[in-house]
């Protein structure tokens, strides 16, 4: 369901993503950093790197490659300047 490689194509409403916990951990870290630091002008360094890396690794193992390719295509249409960046981080 969603972005994942799934054999079962019936749609369900529940979140069955194997990366859900890692995603929540990353999003919680991000939200905290955003509210407490970024909007207050503290953008001098990347944070939540560990959470991001774990989450990304899970995504790259589980994402449906075909859908991901199409997503990155559309993303590069929306952001032509960061095309190189996207391709690099999708590996």
């Amino acid at each position: 369901m969603g972005l994942l490689k799934k054999k079962d194509s019936t749609s369900t409403r529940s979140s069955t993503s194997p990366c859900a916990d890692l995603r929540t951990a990353y999003h919680n870290c991000f939200n905290k950093w955003y509210s407490e630091k970024f909007v207050k002008g503290q953008w001098d360094k990347e944070e939540c790197v560990a959470e991001w890396n774990k989450y990304r690794e899970c995504l790259s193992e589980n994402l449906d490659g075909k859908i991901l390719t199409r997503m990155l295509e559309v993303d590069s249409e929306l952001n032509p300047t960061k095309q190189a960046d996207s391709k690099e981080s999708s590996r």
């Binding site: 969603g2 970024f38 002008g41 996207s86």
Partner: protein, 183 residues
């Protein structure tokens, strides 16, 4: 054939809070019931430019979108994938999101652009949200003869969902305001 719809809404909350609420909109458990059409949201990429204070993010949205009966017949599923690309400019206090569909891209292109900026009359306390949705049916597609109906349905759905989205945003802002109030 392109149809564009514009909406504007003023949040009586500072830009910092509104932009933070935007990040939380889909994941907030209490609000998931209202935005139940959003099934999954994954972050695919993010980049912080430490010199300019610009944050670039790409997210993948998986949406339950039943659509008109004939769409379901054609694509055989009720799932729609979208890409959301966001730039937050910390220096100028501006947040811009652009969401486009991946599913059925050959037939229809729906693009939603949202901007959150400090309100010109009250920049420290209010935020203006401008939303523009454009719907374009690709001219040579098989759906061309049903274009009007598809467009209409899409637009209605988008309008309904953006009202829900605003409700959720207002709720999160109030919650964050209460959280940050001195005891």
């Amino acid at each position: 054939m392109v149809k564009a719809y514009k909406q504007e809404h003023v949040y009586k909350h500072p830009w910092e809070r509104v932009s933070a609420a935007s990040w939380r909109k889909f994941a907030d458990p209490e609000n998931k019931r209202i935005l139940s059409h959003i099934l999954e949201v994954d972050t695919l990429n993010r980049k912080l430019d430490t010199d300019t204070g610009k944050l670039h993010t790409t997210r993948a949205l998986t949406i339950h979108a039943p659509g008109p009966w004939f769409l379901h017949r054609i694509i055989g599923q009720d799932i729609c994938h979208c890409v959301e690309s966001t730039v937050v400019d910390g220096k100028s206090r501006s947040m811009q999101l652009t969401t486009k569909n991946i599913t059925l891209k050959k037939f229809i292109e729906v693009e939603e652009r949202i901007r959150y900026d400090p309100h010109p009359e009250n920049p420290s306390a209010w935020t203006v949200c401008s939303q523009e949705t454009s719907i374009r049916i690709k001219p040579l597609s098989a759906l061309a003869s049903m274009a009007e109906k598809v467009e209409q349905k899409c637009a209605e759905k988008f309008m309904q969902n953006s009202v829900k989205g605003r409700e959720v945003m207002e709720r999160i802002c109030r919650y964050m305001e209460a959280e940050s109030a001195p005891v």
